[in-house]
Amino acid sequence: MASLKVYVISRLILSIPMIFILLTVVFVILRILPGDPVLAIVGMKASEEQIEKLREQLGLNKPLWAQYIDYVAGILRLDFGRSMIWGRRPVLREIMDRFPATLELSISAFIVSVLIGLATGIASSVKSGKVDVTLRVFSIVAYSLFIPLLGMLLQLIFGVYLRWLPVAGRKSPLVDIQTITGLYVLDSILTLNFRGLVTSIRYLILPSITLGIVLSGVYTRLVRSSMLDVLSRDFIRALKARGIPEAKILLEHALKNAFIPILTMMGLQFAILLAGAVLTETTFSWPGMGTFLMERIEYRDYTTVQGTIVFYAILVSFVSLAVDIVYALIDPRIRY
């Protein structure tokens, strides 16, 4: 296991410059691009004095290099500044209020997409001909689906016509859920709150199916190709010759071996998942980071917008780090 430790440590060290560069890129986008945040905040009619005051408040009157140092130092101290509206709360706290909602949506959408991807991918690797072609078309169509359209159609069918499921928000206003982790489903289980569990799952269904379907196409394709690859190997033929049932071979032996490329894809898909979550949240008024970001862009809350983008950047780096480590745990070849 010593080599694993070395790998994890070196990967950790490597991710520091990566995060640093991402932060710099975000800085460049937010500060150096044309477009004056101060003017955008106070409007064109503001007096020279007002503009100067706000500039000073935001530290934008300093030279760029000093702004950059302030910015990086702030992030290192986990100080993302304060929001510019509504009580000027610390930005990081505001983000952490919203993050669990996005996490909950992402996890359940992820589960939906992997389940659909595994089912369709295995089916199309076993059955050739019509099934295979249909599923291949499915994977292309799923990739091309526009999340708000799919979401609205589901809202219309299951919310308006059938009246089965709620179309907006995270829980019924009539039910209280005591928050511990901020993930309502988990919190309801922890506090043995049955009504809370029901309402949070009901509200979660449509958004996670919407996002899950759109993400599933990639998995269908990947599961199919890596299953086909594994199924053509000798050990599968040996298992068949021994008379082991096909289902057992597929699910136990083939899938296990097909899993490494699938895992890699999960890491890559995370960025797409986050971007998709922004659209899903906006469609379903889901109170997560995506709706938060869009709301604050509208209010010209410059510090919060910057903080949220930085948070996304750090999140992406951490997940890629985590995936690499899990990857090394599963596949010993990576460590060397």
């Binding site: 410059p17 990566m18 560069i21 991402l22 890129v25 975000v26 986008i29 937010l30 691009l33 044309p34 477009g35 945040p37 955008a40 072609v133 291949r136 078309v137 292309i140 169509v141 990739y143 091309s144 689906l145 526009f146 999340i147 708000p148 359209l149 609205m152 159609l153 809202q155 219309l156 919310g159 308006v160 179309v167 960025a271 797409i272 986050l274 971007a275 998709g276 922004v278 659209l279 906006t282 469609t283 970001l293 869009m294 862009i297 509208e298 917008v305 983008i309 996304y312 950047a313 992406v316 780096s317 890629s320």
Partner: protein, 281 residues
């Protein structure tokens, strides 16, 4: 040349051929819609022409929106906006990304290292969120939308072209050209680029499919082309407020157009990939 490609695909696999043709047909269909919009649109897309929220009927085949504008006419004109924004921004990414990738990969050194790291980090960032950040800072406008979208796809071309350049750079025929005293320019554009350019159409087509969704996403979020310019993503958003009251047509038709166009380019990209990607042969 196109015919030759099609025959080649047809011989190889019938299904791939069908998918490619479908994709091409969809793309051409929408391209013609965009070109002919002023001639085939029954109404002015900018003004109210009837009562608000009329359901589809022979007079308004896709109904009218909340301002009494003809949805069908707005879709026709919207295809212009979408095509212009999406194609321009992906072309900008292609030119900028490929040039940087070619030069960076060929000359190497410090600039190459810095550029690669920057491009890798941009690439790892969620595309739509990157576009949102840029668009939010630049403010509304067609040109700003184009810039926001092209930033997302530059790293794709950079990485691809740089990788190819590195693999071709040390081959024997390039060495021979250097030995014969060819200039950097000749080597770059006559020797290396032709080898790199084979895969560009595939990547381009797939990127356009993705860019259609990014453009629609930006407009849906209110950061794209400003109102009242007809745009599918914006019109979809505009219909959302009345959707739950049962006025499904205002959102659904523009939404379906977005999916159709993205699907067309995806299918086309898939087909081209089967043919042009050397790994698939």
């Amino acid at each position: 040349m196109l015919a030759a490609i099609l025959v080649k695909i047809y011989k190889k696999r019938k299904i791939d051929f069908l998918l490619t043709i479908t994709g091409l047909a969809i793309v051409l269909f929408i391209l013609f819609m965009a070109l002919l919009a002023p001639y085939i649109a029954p109404y002015d897309p900018y003004i109210s022409v009837d009562k608000a929220l009329l359901p589809p009927s022979p007079k308004h085949i896709m109904g009218t929106d909340n301002l009494g504008r003809d949805v069908y006419s707005r879709i026709l004109y919207g295809s212009r906006t979408v095509m212009i924004v999406v194609l321009t921004s992906t072309l900008v990414s292609l030119v900028v990304g490929s040039t940087l990738g070619l030069v960076s990969g060929y000359f190497g050194g410090k600039i190459d290292r810095v550029l690669s790291i920057v491009m890798d980090s941009l690439y790892s960032f969620p595309g739509l969120i990157l576009a949102i950040a840029v668009a939010a800072m630049l403010g509304p406008g067609i040109v700003n939308t184009i810039v926001s979208i092209s930033v997302v796809y530059i790293p794709t071309y950079f990485r691809m072209v740089r990788g190819q350049t590195l693999s071709v750079k040390n081959s024997l025929y390039v060495e021979a050209a250097i030995a014969m005293g060819a200039s950097h320019k000749t080597i770059l554009f006559d020797y290396i680029f032709p080898n790199v350019s084979v895969i560009i159409p595939v990547v381009f087509s797939m990127n356009v499919a993705d860019a259609v969704l990014t453009e629609a996403g930006l407009s849906f979020l209110g950061l794209g082309v400003p109102a009242p310019i007809p745009d599918w993503g914006f019109d979809l958003k505009n219909g959302q407020r009345n959707l739950l009251a049962g006025y499904w047509w205002v959102s659904t038709f523009p939404g379906l157009m977005i999916v159709l166009l993205a699907l067309g380019f995806s299918l086309l990209g898939e087909g081209l990939n089967e043919l042009l990607n050397p790994e698939r042969r």
